[in-house]
Amino acid sequence: MNSAIIFVVATLSILGLVSAVILYFIARKFKVIEDPRIDQIAEILPAANCGGCGFAGCRNFAESIVKNESLDNMFCPVGGNELLKLIAPIIGQEAVEKDPMIAVLRCNGSFAHAPLKTTYEGIDSCFFMNALHAGDNGCPYGCLGGGDCVIACTFDAMYMDKETGLPVIIQDKCVACGACVKACPRNILELRPKGKKDRRIFVGCVNREKGAVAKKNCEVACIGCGKCVKECKFEAISMVNNLAYIHAEKCTLCRKCVAVCPTDAIHELNFPERKKQVVETENKEA
């Protein structure tokens, strides 16, 4: 009886010992060396897995930062500059400040500005609408109103405005991950620098048709008249294929182009109210 117990205990102990030795050597042989910094970085990251950085997810982003040991071209749009400052000491690098970006809608073809001519019946998705026809308001470049961008947004930063038929970007929530930009089949959405004090000026139209044709469908279309190009002293506006484009890096936010645009196609965001208008009204009164 006793010997049986001793035998069992002894065999199991020897078996355990032998297995432990084998496992030890296997573990040494096939050891996966993972930089602990990856975990450190991944922990600070927002874990939104939005793909805005260009990587498959937050961990993938952390891995490639550690692998390259640099922060060049690495930017998490959700965390922004503050996050970058936290990551920098972990890999012993300096954080280079980047201009924060935000998505802007370059179309103002609302129901009021571009009246509907037809009624689309079919699959409710811009991707399909774009493949089938030019759009209910007739503009082959403008917003289709199917809401693919709203579905793509994982930050709840967009919604469709029923009054205008256009998507609205909630500025406080947008992290510039670029998901909406990819979802839009017509490249209407664009990521632009947030600008000083959140102020932005951009051309709210992507129509490349000739002025008269564009104007027929939408009263706020860019007609390619070139007035803004002449007005701009900083050469920040270029005109390609009947469409003006404001280069954000050169733009000084002087707002002169906004005033000369005959169709109000140039948008200004978050600016204080104009003084000039007040002067004008005073003149009239005088």
């Binding site: 019946e121 030019a134 082959p140 048709e209 044709v213």
Partner: protein
């Protein structure tokens, strides 16, 4: 006698051939004609005239420039007022030539004698050259340049010609009227096509719902040896090239291959008559028969229309636009697409304009797929439309390709039969064009 038909799938939509008793009449020549330069599959033609030029009816205004392309001729005589981008049926702008009509002066080379000329004097090469010069494309709607179809690739041999007089789309009657009224020209056109292909046999497939056309052509066929008439059981989409070959000579076109693999060439009735006019009368393709119909239309009719005539002119001719109109369709109700605007011009491949009243135009409410497999039963190509549509929705183009999306003939039987009203064809069509792009980029 047991009537022939294709074996796989098929549906029976309401025929609604309202205008089948209406003889073809000439539509008025439009005040301005807008002639797109891309009315065919392939590269757009190259414009060879300039703004301000005077053109005569039938004059070449744009030349087909690459291998797959077709010539475009002036449909009216007058002055070229604009070369610009004009709206096409989808609302997008495409390059076109606008001509302001002044009188109707035809170019001198066209033989305007109404007498039918039955003797074929031209050789094989000359016929193909004339077809090419005349800018003839498939008039059934596919608009593939006919001269390329007639050039049998090396190593392949054609042994028969099939003339497609099925016209399985509901509402449309333009081919039906052509067969009844211009049967003899059709027969001669078929003979010309046979000479060009070097074949001895030709079959004309006609669905059994056109007894007058069958009788008329059977009588005529006694005078044209080698051409036989095949009445077919009514079933949609019998007018599809592959379905027609299966129905008449019981051969199957292999997946991803052209009908020439089975040794036959299929041409539409309208194409055969256009070939007759081109070869015997030297008349290029600048007018075609268009059915203007619909349940609420006052005078449904078959009109001989100049290319470039705005659709609004045709509707005016058919008694105006009914007040309860919801949708105007370019083509038939099964395969056609709703028009974005009524200013769109008639092009070579437009066989009909169908006006849908409010209560018929509405699409059914979309609900979930109930896995009844009706779409699989009716698919004439033996595909699984529900599966392909699902992949299309999920943008899995590669998997859709593996499920043979490219074999889809876009007949719309699946969407027609779906009890849940799912937009199967809509999904498949978009994914098919995507897959086509992927395949083409892979070949480069």
């Amino acid at each position: 006698m047991l009537l022939k038909t294709f074996t796989l799938g098929g549906v029976h939509p309401e025929e609604n051939k309202i205008s089948s008793g209406q003889p073809i009449r000439k539509a008025p020549i439009p005040k301005t004609a807008v002639v797109p330069i891309a009315q065919h599959i392939g590269a757009p033609a190259e414009i060879i005239i300039a703004k301000g030029d005077k053109v005569k009816t039938g004059q070449l205004i744009a030349r087909g420039q690459s291998f797959i392309s077709a010539n475009v001729h002036a449909p009216v005589s007058g002055t070229v007022t604009k070369i610009d981008e004009f709206m096409d049926s989808s609302g997008y702008r495409k390059r076109a030539i606008q001509i302001e009509t002044e009188g109707d002066e035809w170019i001198g080379t066209i033989d305007r004698d109404e007498k039918i000329d039955a003797t074929i004097k031209r050789s094989r090469e000359e016929i193909i050259q004339l077809i090419k010069e005349s800018g003839i494309v498939g008039m059934g709607g596919a608009t593939f340049p006919t001269h390329i179809k007639m050039m049998v690739p090396q190593g392949k041999k054609a042994d028969c010609l099939i003339i497609n007089g099925v016209e399985c789309e509901p509402y449309l009657t333009s081919d039906h009227r052509l067969m009844v009224e211009r049967g003899e020209e059709l027969m001669i056109g078929a003979r010309i096509l046979m000479t060009a292909l070097g074949v001895e046999k030709a079959y004309i497939g006609i669905e059994n719902n056109k007894p007058d056309a069958i009788d008329h052509l059977t009588n005529l066929s006694k005078r044209f040896p080698g051409i036989t008439i095949h009445p077919l059981k009514v079933k949609y989409p019998q007018g599809g090239e592959k379905q027609l070959i299966k129905a008449i000579i019981n051969r199957e076109v292999p997946s991803g291959k052209l009908p020439i693999e089975t040794g036959c060439i299929v041409q539409n009735v309208g194409t055969a008559i256009a070939v007759y006019e081109a070869v015997q009368k030297n008349k290029p393709l600048f007018e075609r028969v268009v059915t203007v119909t619909g349940k609420s239309v006052r005078n449904p009719c078959n009109l001989l229309v100049r290319i470039g005539t705005p659709i609004s002119v045709l509707l005016e001719e058919a008694g105006g636009i009914p007040t309860d109109t919801r949708k105007v369709i370019n083509g038939g109700p099964m395969m056609g697409k709703a028009l974005n605007s009524l200013d769109v011009p008639v092009i070579k491949g437009m066989s009909g304009v169908v006006v849908m009243p409010e209560k018929e135009a509405r699409r059914p409410k979309i609900s979930n797929c109930i896995r009844c497999a009706r779409c699989t039963f009716v698919c004439p190509m033996g595909l699984s439309p529900y599966l392909i549509a699902q992949m299309a929705e999920a943008r899995l183009e590669e998997r859709a390709e593996a499920e043979r999306i490219m074999d889809c003939i876009e007949c719309g039987s699946c969407s027609f039969t779906c009890p849940s009203g799912r937009p199967l064809l809509d999904n498949i069509r978009v994914a098919k064009s995507k897959v086509g792009q992927i395949i083409r980029s892979r070949a480069k």
